[in-house]
């Protein structure tokens, strides 16, 4: 199958900063791809190059086998996008704004009406853009992005700064869009957003991809997918650990009293840990066990914010 988006050695520099560093990527029709990374990772630069807003210094970007240089008009009709923050005309209503963009995309007014409903703004049709809430404004931007029923949808941090309800509302709309077979690239620094929406996740940091795969692939790729967090009254003495426990991936803070263990299975490892605690006369102040998340994975890959190992 031919990829709808193909990147070949894409590099972009701003002065001394390399925002994108020789990126290669293929994305296939219908994939929902989450581009994750901290601020300054190069996500926006990459998305803007795919959007044709910026041109790479080196390398090539092919959309549907063509490039922005060769077929700008054609691509503009097949791509929908929403920038990190767009403010619309303060004194145009929601419907008027959608209707304007419908005309710019050569679509009938009916499409504006349809999208008004699609992004749950039907009751805000006559509200001026200036009077919309943050979540409503983002949904309006999404309504504009979907105006040409795009084959590829590019959203740059669509839910940054929104409250959890507004965020979930937007996710519901995107799940509906997914059923149309749209390909999506979404940048975010909310891991749960990628977990909720994306069937493919790309980790990005310092202009490079660190990981690429589905949520389960990424997590199981680590081998250890569950964690036990604990806090003890006294520092833990690892030398007295039985060998079944000593072989695990331990992370302790500098006091030696708090830390976590990465394990394959909490069900197998937790009883052993508790037995040993009791045997040594340690007092447990806190205990928590959970599945690893993308956050844990990201932290373990970049090494940032990680609790120092003993």
């Amino acid at each position: 199958m031919e990829p709808v988006i193909r990147l070949q050695g894409v590099t972009k520099q701003f002065g001394k900063l390399t925002a994108c560093d020789g990126l290669n990527l293929e994305i296939y029709r219908g994939q929902f791809v989450g581009l994750l990374g901290p601020n300054g990772a190069g996500k926006t630069t990459l998305v803007e190059m795919i959007e044709g807003v910026q041109a790479p210094d080196q390398g090539f970007i092919y959309l549907f086998g063509t490039t922005w240089k060769d077929n700008r008009k054609g691509l503009q009709g097949r791509i929908g996008l929403s920038f990190q923050e767009t403010r619309f005309f303060d004194k145009l209503t929601t419907f008027e704004t959608l209707n304007l963009f419908a005309s710019l995309y050569g679509q009938p007014a009916q499409r504006a009406k349809d999208n008004l409903e699609l992004v749950h703004l039907g009751d805000k049709a006559d509200t001026w853009a200036a009077d919309l809430s943050g979540g409503q404004r983002q949904r309006l931007a999404l309504g504009v992005a979907l105006m040409n029923d795009p084959e590829i949808l590019l959203l740059d941090e669509p839910t940054t700064g929104l409250d959890p309800n507004s965020r979930r509302d937007l996710w519901e709309i995107l799940k509906k869009v997914k059923t149309r077979g749209t390909t999506l690239i979404l940048t975010t620094h909310y891991m749960e957003e990628a977990e909720a929406l994306c069937d493919r996740i790309l980790f990005m940091d310092h202009g490079k991809f660190l990981a690429d795969g589905s949520l389960t692939e990424l997590l199981s790729g680590m081998g250890l997918t569950e964690m036990i967090h604990f806090e003890l009254a006294q520092p833990l003495d690892k030398t007295s650990l039985p060998k079944e426990l000593l072989g695990l991936d331990w992370h302790l803070d500098e006091t030696g009293r708090q830390g976590h263990i990465k394990v394959e299975s909490v069900i197998l490892s937790l009883p052993l840990f508790l037995d040993w605690i009791e045997e040594r006369g340690h007092v447990l102040k806190q205990l928590q066990s959970r599945r690893m998340t993308l956050d844990d994975l990201f932290v373990s890959m970049t090494g940032r914010g990680l609790i120092e190992s003993p």
């Binding site: 959007e51 996008l81 403010r87 619309f88 710019l104």
Partner: protein, 353 residues
């Protein structure tokens, strides 16, 4: 607390370079333009039309009380600063049309031994010249019979001068704000890049802005004209179609200037500075409120070719003198040329993203 409030407000103020220019730079620039460049040590000159000659004044020349430079009789006014009145012999028709164009304020005639000062007393400038001249002449000789004749015929009044100037200024402001400022705001809101990400052809954006401005400034002009007709009995002497065509040329010129002005910046503070930078000098120098003939004679060829002067002078000529294409054609051509050149330059510099 007061100190912290003041110091933070002061920091915000001085960290905006655009504001700094407008607060400190611009007044100095204006003071220089109006005060030094245009006055300096040179006497301030006033030109007065002398219609039909005057035996009394010729007698003063013979007595050496008035000097004669070329055809002009010159009168230096003592005790009121550095003022020089030049009495320039003109035919009546010529004098009246100069008056209508705002090139001079006052016409002097001698009728049966009496000096007749003809001007519109509603114009402060004209009144000033009258007082100067009357005082100056009376200083030179015994009191002589004199009389003021109010010019209230259509075309020669101050309001006749003012209305077309205001119409021209309306066209300028409409374009500079409606296209220039609006484009800067679009860019600031990232709406510009959002719009050019659609298959919309880029020229469509400018075309829509331009036609909107033509529509709005036509409406504005029509309302102002209706008002002037109702209250001041101002009528259009020349061709309506030609007047419309001239306005279209004016819109084109200022639309081009607006696009050039808005080609780079996404900062509305800088934007408002630019708007002022473009409009303020022309509002002062282009003869909207007072004729640029108040500035020294050497500056006239420059000032009369400012886009706003071209438009205002053209509008006056059509309105009050019934000028035809032959008289205003060059002005129109220059306006169109200005528009095209600035638009082209603006497009070359234009930042879409």
């Amino acid at each position: 607390m007061m100190f912290q409030l003041m110091s933070s407000q002061f920091k915000i103020f001085i960290r905006e370079p655009g504001v700094l220019f407008w607060v400190f730079g611009f007044p100095i620039l204006m003071a220089w333009v109006l005060g030094i460049a245009f006055s300096g040590d040179q006497p301030k000159e006033h030109i007065v039309a002398l219609v039909g000659g005057s035996t009394q004044l010729e007698a003063l020349v013979a007595q050496g009380r008035l000097s004669k430079t070329g055809p002009d009789l010159e009168l230096k006014i003592e005790g009121l600063g550095n003022e020089l009145v030049k009495l320039r012999p003109l035919e009546e028709s010529e004098a009246l049309s100069s008056l209508r164009r705002g090139n001079l304020e006052l016409i002097l005639e001698e009728r049966a031994g009496e000096l007749v000062y003809r001007f519109d007393p509603r114009s402060e400038a004209a009144k000033g010249v009258f007082l100067l001249l009357s005082r100056g002449l009376n200083q030179q000789a015994q009191t002589r019979p004199e009389r003021v004749e109010v010019i209230s015929a259509k075309g020669g009044r101050y309001i006749d001068f003012l209305i077309p100037g205001l119409m021209a200024m309306g066209v300028m402001n409409s374009c500079i704000w409606g296209i220039g400022w609006a484009t800067i705001e679009l860019r600031m809101k990232k709406l510009l890049r959002r719009m050019v990400a659609t298959p919309m052809p880029r020229y469509a954006l400018f075309m829509a802005q331009f036609f909107n401005r033509v529509l709005i400034s036509s409406l504005e002009t029509a309302i102002l004209f209706f008002f002037a007709w109702m209250y001041f009995d101002i009528t259009l002497q020349g061709s309506f179609a030609l007047f419309l065509l001239l306005m279209l040329c004016g819109n084109l010129a200022f639309a081009g200037i607006a696009v050039l002005m808005a080609s780079r910046t996404a900062n509305t503070t800088v934007g408002s500075g630019l708007v002022n930078l473009v409009t303020m000098p022309m509002m002062i120098l282009s003869g909207v409120f007072f004729s640029y003939h108040n500035f020294p004679e050497w500056s006239w060829p420059v000032l009369s070719h400012l886009p706003l002067s071209l438009l205002a002078d053209g509008m006056r000529a059509i309105m009050h003198e019934g000028a035809g294409l032959a008289q205003v054609g060059v002005k129109m051509g220059l306006l169109v040329f200005t528009g095209l050149v600035t638009f082209w330059g603006g497009l070359k510099l234009f930042k879409w993203y």
